[in-house]
Symmetry: C2
Subunit: 360 residues, 2 copies
Amino acid sequence: MRRQALNVTRYDPGVSSAAPGTGDETIERRRPVTAVQVARHAGVSTATVSLVVNGKTAGRVSPQIAARVEAAIAELGYVVDRAASSLSRGSGDVVILVAPDIANPFFAGVIAGAQEALGSIYQLLLSATDVGCVPRPEDVRALFALRPAGLLVDAPNVRFLRDLDVHAPLVLIDAPSTEGVAPSVDLDVASGARQLARHLLHRGHRRIGYLDAVTGTETFVLRREALREELAAGGGVLAGPTPASVVDSAAASRAAVDAWPGWRDAGVTAVVAASDTQAYGVLHAMQGLGVPIPGELALAGFDNLPYSALTQPGLTSVELPSHQLGLAAAGHLRALIEGRAPAAPDMLPAHLVVRGSTAR
Amino acid sequence: MRRQALNVTRYDPGVSSAAPGTGDETIERRRPVTAVQVARHAGVSTATVSLVVNGKTAGRVSPQIAARVEAAIAELGYVVDRAASSLSRGSGDVVILVAPDIANPFFAGVIAGAQEALGSIYQLLLSATDVGCVPRPEDVRALFALRPAGLLVDAPNVRFLRDLDVHAPLVLIDAPSTEGVAPSVDLDVASGARQLARHLLHRGHRRIGYLDAVTGTETFVLRREALREELAAGGGVLAGPTPASVVDSAAASRAAVDAWPGWRDAGVTAVVAASDTQAYGVLHAMQGLGVPIPGELALAGFDNLPYSALTQPGLTSVELPSHQLGLAAAGHLRALIEGRAPAAPDMLPAHLVVRGSTAR
DNA sequence: CTGAAAGCGCTTACAG
DNA sequence: CTGAAAGCGCTTACAG
């Protein structure tokens, strides 16, 4: 790799060092303003400062004093130290979302929904686990040690929860079959899979190939098995090999290239991928192999990612409501945190979006 | 929307409530184990517990005592309260990456690189700002109030930094023209743009259309202007309208549909999009309009996202090394945090990847 | 309406 | 090698 000129500028802390120019100077950082300084500046106690910054002045602090404190806060640029605040209160105002595949556009919707539900009171931070891996209990435990207000954990399995054994606000996302262990907000992927099965049967397909995902999450088991059952009910069958790949287009493409001879020999006329991301890979693979879609092979996926409307042909997909998922999960968590009875959410409905990839 | 049966299970805290069955019971949470409990259990002081959990036993704690403490920790399931730890030390071990567009696959690489550089000592959390928006100084200030070990901020502009005025470990990512304000690790997008310009000129294109991004980030200005200059140097020109869209395929598709008459009338034979994500939208728009790519119109983008190898035709793109970017930025931050002199990183090189979308 | 004081759980000089 | 004690910056009963 060709190395080029350095473009990293040294940070100037704006504070004189102990021994300027000697080379072994230590950088002194300007220390953050504390409540003590604000209190001194406004001529009040730190208790009053705390009441003001937390908006608990009603009947406790006179408007005049409050105004004086506000002024001091603005002048000094005081920001509450949330580490200290968390320690004092027992927990903070951060909500952490743990997800295995942040880069998946599906999560943009979940994140937006969660932010909407959390409002400006809580701050949402994301913890990315390794792509294609379920989060490990020890990772989540380390996150709990941060004393967040609560945790949102995407797609863990039952075993994960047994190992976790943590008792704090926690809501699971898209974690079917964890009932009774922790609250979860789920997607009705089974219904979506059945709609897709009926659509394919209706289009005359009987022998369906399947490209699975290898994350070891329940949702993918559910997608596959619901599809299989509903196909069987209508005289169809999952035929040929059932390869699995990580949720990545390139990996899916390779898997599809390998699987194609088997699918073809098994008389497969349609392929379903466990996710749209993988379906894109299958589409590419078939274009490379000269197998026309939908002419020789129909194709469908799950998620209905934005890009699925843009492929050539457009991709038939089971739409999973990511925004609503984030909204419901964070809303539930918030109720838990605030000690309210959680509003009864639904199992969020999935519905099939039909496009050119399964046209006759 | 059809509502279905509720599938949210109530969380059972496993702890008896104050007034069981009365209905106004408050949920008592099992309180986390503290160092005091561990100390008591092991028959030592909390100071010793602290030394053991922080691995500072060498010459300070006898192996026997250390072993006893370890055993107590394991037995009680003790995890250090990081809020308290942060308060005591002055800052914690969390590194926060602030990025406008977490869902962009480009960030998967940045995140993986940053995690690699941070190792297991620091914990990386992500803060998602609204899509298509530069992070606001107040958001970043709120993040600093969490007392993280440091912050990595993607693509802010100079004005942002003037407003920020925060003096703590901070490294900017892909933030050209912020020299002297804060350290930054940059991508040589200008060089990439010039390579792309020369490639297009060499392929015989002289009148080039451009689809810009509307995030207000320097990197996009640089991409466009470097392309413009290098084209001019070779007798080419940015011609026709220069629409802008958010970094989203669907939005880009709409923008391209609108721009096409203008481009066509201006004699444009190639279009460059500010990002691959947008280029996918242009590709879709042109397929919809019946404009063959590359036959009638060549197309290229920036980022070389994984999916760019899978489109039909494959997308010519300026590869930006996302993994190295995360690695270098986090490495620099880590040096800053630990008071070491940052290793001199490079401005990370970009290089053109030529695919079918600009074939003759 | 306001303040002095205790306490959150940890870390780190300091004394022994 | 080990412990008692102070302190990080905040919040919250409690006393006035």
